[in-house]
């Protein structure tokens, strides 16, 4: 390890934002700059630690399950009577998500500087949300995982409900109800697994214990977990909370929502459904592929029909999460690698898109695509970055979205040729609506209403440029992420395929 890390680095990453939140609560409300400063200061060290972890992560371990998890902490006894422990650790999947979370949180906190009321509460809740997300990606004890998973709900509810748009209450409660509904199934399944898999909440031990379960039980458990995670992804038909939540949420929260929160769904599928219930996963992969296909095509078609730019991005998000599901379902190394890479890339690209929508909304105070036109000459920098994000999103070669999509389709085609072919039409539709949107907004005659529109300021550039650079780098050289996740996923794919040998799709 060539960079020094502190002891218990994962705990620090999780709880440092919480310390920041406590500090913010103690600050005087009349000092907005102090509050914002502490907000940023609380997210920077986790980002630094995430980069350190990324650099120091041992990438080759020959598929041994014991070596997958690095930077292990614990198990420290927490509630002994129920065998609940405080256990943290990251493998290739988690570490890429931890990196993404740290990055997106730092960017989102900078993007939040425009918030102008109840700053203390906003930043404190934001940092609490940060803690919850980090915790989910690091927890290796299922009880701990569940606690972190639920902790995020409340800050999200208030962040949308207090600082959101006109219809915020409806959107916030819809988000909360949907997610809690899903969590109920997860809790039920977790407790059931606890009793059936050797009275332990340790995920690694549960992996062993779950093997002995009857197939019917496995399938039921699989679906219980699936509902919980599908709502978060969001997979058809549980997706309807997402456009509402996105449209009403303030920009920074949309960024978090699309950039990190949705990934929890797919992360959960890999961490729980794939690792704990491999046989059921092998058997039911076609469900994932089918829903993935529906997400891709249906989401893209919905996006095409939108006139509100933010809604368009929200639906494109649903569509792009479909690629993740399709890639995961393929159970091939390419497909699964592509899926996790897509999780990362989608995080960065959609974060850009939502930031860009926010930039425009701050100036024009509306998001109707038809209201714009000919912006290219008026705001060239904005146009350039938007074009970059759009092209990355539609999968132009040389940008990061392309790599992951190709991998997903390569993998998907081997296992589910029919679904993959149908899904591929999603690419065409995506290209169509994004190019059409570009044309309507930036080309043609300038709407005279926007003759005074100003280009991006420094703060907005600070949030967007790093993401743009990552998008370009990973487009031409995806290896840094791929070799991070490769071995872990290779093991996971082997785990599932081994369990479901002979159970191929159709």
């Amino acid at each position: 390890m060539f960079l020094a890390t502190i002891d218990n680095v994962l705990s620090w990453m999780i709880f440092f934002p919480l310390i920041g939140a406590a500090v913010i609560l103690l600050l005087p409300a009349k000092r907005p700059n102090w509050i914002k400063g502490v907000g940023v200061a609380a997210t920077l060290p986790p980002l630094w630690w995430a980069i350190e972890l990324f650099a120091g992560f041992q990438r080759r371990f020959g598929g041994e399950p014991l070596k997958q998890f690095q930077y292990l902490e614990g198990p420290r006894p927490w509630i002994e009577s129920f065998n609940i422990n405080y256990t943290l650790g990251v493998d290739g999947i988690s570490i890429s998500m931890v990196l993404l979370t740290a990055l997106i949180c730092t960017i989102a906190v900078i993007a939040s500087f425009g918030i102008n009321r109840q700053l203390k509460a906003y930043f404190a809740l934001f940092l609490l949300l940060d803690t919850g997300m980090m915790g989910v990606f690091c927890a290796l004890d299922f009880f701990l995982f569940y606690v972190f998973w639920e902790i995020m709900l409340l800050p999200m509810y208030f962040l949308i409900g207090i600082w959101g748009g006109p219809n915020k209450i409806y959107a916030a409660i819809k988000f909360f109800l949907y997610t809690l509904f899903g969590s109920v199934f997860m809790l039920l399944a977790v407790i059931f697994l606890y009793f059936k898999a050797g009275k332990t909440f340790d995920m690694a031990e549960m992996m062993q214990g779950a093997r002995g379960l009857a197939m019917t039980a496995q399938v039921l458990l699989w679906f219980a977990f699936y509902i919980a995670f599908a709502i978060k992804i969001p997979a058809f038909p549980f997706h309807t909370w997402l456009p509402d939540a996105h449209v009403e949420a303030p920009t920074a929260i949309s960024v978090i929502l699309a950039g990190v929160l949705l990934k929890m769904g797919t992360y959960g599928l890999l961490r729980v459904n794939y690792a704990l219930l491999p046989e059921a996963t092998a058997k039911l992969a076609w469900v994932l592929a089918l829903i993935g296909m529906i997400n891709i095509v249906y989401g893209a078609l919905c996006a095409m029909a939108q006139s509100d730019l933010k809604k368009l991005v929200a639906y494109s998000s649903i569509s792009h999460m479909g690629y993740v599901m399709l890639g995961m379902a393929s159970l091939t190394p390419q497909g699964v690698n592509g899926a996790v890479l897509q999780m990362f890339n989608h995080g960065t690209i959609t974060a850009m898109l939502f930031l860009l929508v926010g930039v425009l909304y701050d100036r024009a105070h509306h998001r109707q695509i038809d209201g714009f036109g000919g912006l290219a000459n008026q705001v060239p920098v904005y146009t350039g970055i938007t074009a970059l994000a759009f092209f990355a999103s539609l999968g132009l070669p040389g940008l990061s979205g392309f790599v992951s999509e190709v991998l997903v389709f390569m993998g998907g085609f081997r296992t589910f040729p029919l679904y993959t072919i149908v899904s591929a039409t999603g690419i065409v539709i995506t290209a169509a609506y994004l190019l059409w949107t570009l044309q309507r907004m930036f080309l043609g005659e300038l709407n005279p209403k926007y003759a005074t529109l100003t280009d991006m300021n420094r703060r907005e550039l600070i949030t967007l440029v790093p993401l743009g650079i990552i998008v370009i780098i990973l487009g031409v050289w995806p290896l840094p992420v791929l070799d991070l996740i490769g071995d872990t996923l290779g093991f996971l794919v082997g785990h599932v395929n081994g369990a479901g040998a002979g159970l191929a799709g159709f």
Binding site: W78, I79, E80, S81, F82, N116, R117, Q118, Y146, V147, E150, I151, L153, L154, Y157, F158, G161, I162, I169, I173, F176, L177, L180, F181, V184, L187, L188, I191, F192, Y194, F195
Partner: protein, 517 residues
């Protein structure tokens, strides 16, 4: 079980004797001093409760055989010991709440005295070893509850609520007494343990026992506010003084559960090595499961439409009775522990919520949900604490209420009642709807007007007339909150979170104290 005669029992009955003596002392002092030292009585009561609690404490952790006191009238086992402390806590919180309550200012010493006797009655309910004892204890609790509900002098709502409570309660306890007489007729004994023996020996056909059980459940269901015997609950809660409402939602309910557990497990089930089995041919767990489901759904769905905070909390308390009833079907030590654990969680979070509601009602003069509007801007501390209680009541981590639910549903799943656990958890989702509505009104509504201009200091004067018409008069009209209630709310809030993060000691206390098979 060691049986003791009357005099030998007395030394084990010290906490109850203290309560009795304390109550008499307060009532006598009330007559001697009259209204002059009214503020003193609640504190006197708290002191008596503290003494009783201390006297009850050493026995709490004892293992082993219980004692059958007073010729087997009163069973002093781990179960009773744990509930002793529970009810002492309930009484102390009620008195502390009443101490600063403006509603109860005229109630004087009798309120304190009656509360002490109610606590005694509830302890006797938990420990009843004989149906006569059970009935007497329950009537003590009932009669005094009726009086407490109607204790607002000159308030018609309070009197109406009291009357309603009396009528419903009378019918319910009549049905229960009838059920008791059936049991006596079938077995020839009133002693619960002996009754259990007789049933196990095949004393009766299942059908008459079942009918008797249904009749008994009318009375007990009334105390627990379980469907379909919950009708009184919203009206009574709404009419009663807030401190009494808080008391009713926790105390008699818990006592009802304790007595139900006692009767069902002692008389209508047979102990096996690791739990109990219902006596042959009697499907009472199914009956209770159906009741539990009905109670949860009725409570939660009705609560969604309430605009009065006390009514809303009444329905919420019905819903919680449903969760607890689900725990009754288990017949395992894990189930009993889960119920006790849940009751402790409910005690802390519900009293917390009611203390905030009381503070708000005193300030705004209304029990409507609008009274709590914009609380975040007026009293941020209370608002945050209320949020914690609401989270806990919904059952979200990291709050104590989540742990209570976790144990309950874990026990259900372990016991094979998967469908009941699922329905219970779905009910938590429904309950989110109304708990978050309170949170929304309290925290989100009224945050908008910060944006336009800082001209009006009054939060949303149109929506919230009670704060004062012009915003200038508001500070004068807002009474200062007593530091005592703020401190108690704070302590309860911190406990809710702390026990949500680390609850092992309480769990050990409950488990060891219960000393189950």
């Amino acid at each position: 079980m060691v049986a003791l005669e009357n005099f030998g029992s007395l030394k084990h009955f010290l906490p109850e004797c203290l309560l009795m003596g304390g109550a008499l002392l307060v009532l006598v002092l009330d007559m001697v001093w009259g209204a002059r030292r009214r503020a003193l009585y609640p504190w006197l009561g708290v002191g008596v409760l503290a003494l009783a609690g201390l006297a009850a404490l050493p026995g709490a952790g004892l293992r082993g055989e219980g004692l059958a006191l007073f010729e087997q009238m009163f069973t002093l086992d781990g179960f009773t010991r744990v509930f002793r402390l529970f009810f002492v806590l309930v009484g102390a919180l009620t008195l502390l709440m009443a101490a600063r309550s403006r509603e109860l200012r005229g109630a004087g010493g009798e309120f304190t005295g009656l509360t002490l006797i109610v606590v005694l009655g509830m302890i006797l309910m938990a420990g009843a070893g004989n149906l006569v004892m059970a009935y007497l204890a329950m009537e003590t609790v009932s009669l005094l509850s009726y009086t407490l509900v109607g204790s607002l002098r000159g308030n018609r709502r309070s009197h109406e609520a009291g009357l309603k409570y009396v009528i419903f309660g009378g019918v319910a306890s009549g049905a229960m007494l009838y059920g008791f007489s059936w049991l006596f007729g079938l077995t020839g004994t009133l002693d619960l343990a002996a009754m259990g023996e007789a049933f196990r020996a095949g004393a009766a056909q299942p059908l008459p026992v079942f009918l008797a059980l249904v009749l008994i459940l009318v009375g007990l269901g009334f105390k627990m506010a379980a469907a379909p015997f919950h009708m009184w609950c919203p009206d009574v809660y709404e009419g009663a003084p807030v401190a009494v409402t808080a008391f009713l939602s926790v105390g008699p309910k818990a006592a009802g559960f304790a007595l139900t557990l006692r009767i069902l497990y002692t008389a209508l089930a047979e102990p096996t090595g690791s739990g109990w089995l219902p006596i042959a041919g009697l499907p009472w767990p199914t009956l209770i499961a159906v009741m539990a489901v009905a109670t949860m759904f009725i409570g939660n769905l009705s609560a969604l439409w309430q605009d009065n905070l006390k009514r809303l909390m009444a329905y919420s308390s019905i819903a919680h009775a449903g969760y607890l009833l689900a725990g009754l079907v288990l017949l395992t030590p894990a189930g009993v522990t889960a119920i006790v654990f849940y009751l402790f969680a409910y005690l802390i979070m519900n009293f917390g919520a009611f203390m905030v509601i009381a503070a708000v009602a005193e300030e705004s003069g209304s029990g409507g949900i609008d009274g709590i509007r914009g609380l975040w801007r007026r009293r941020p501390f209370l608002a945050v604490m209320m949020l914690i209680f609401l989270i806990s009541l919904t059952g979200l981590p990291p709050a104590f209420g989540f742990i209570g639910k976790f144990y309950l549903f874990a026990a259900l799943i372990e016991g094979g009642w998967l469908w009941l656990a699922l329905l219970g958890l779905l009910n938590s989702v429904i309950s989110l709807g109304y708990y978050m509505r309170i949170a929304r009104v309290m925290l989100i509504d009224g945050t908008e007007d910060a944006a336009p201009a800082p001209t009006g200091a009054a939060p949303a004067p149109v929506l919230h007339p009670a704060t004062g018409p012009a915003g200038v008069a508001a500070p004068a009209a807002t009474p200062a909150l007593s530091p005592l209630s703020v401190a108690i709310v704070g302590v309860l809030g911190v406990l809710t979170v702390l026990l949500g993060i680390y609850w092992e000691p309480l769990r050990l206390f409950a488990e060891r104290g219960l000393a189950l098979p």
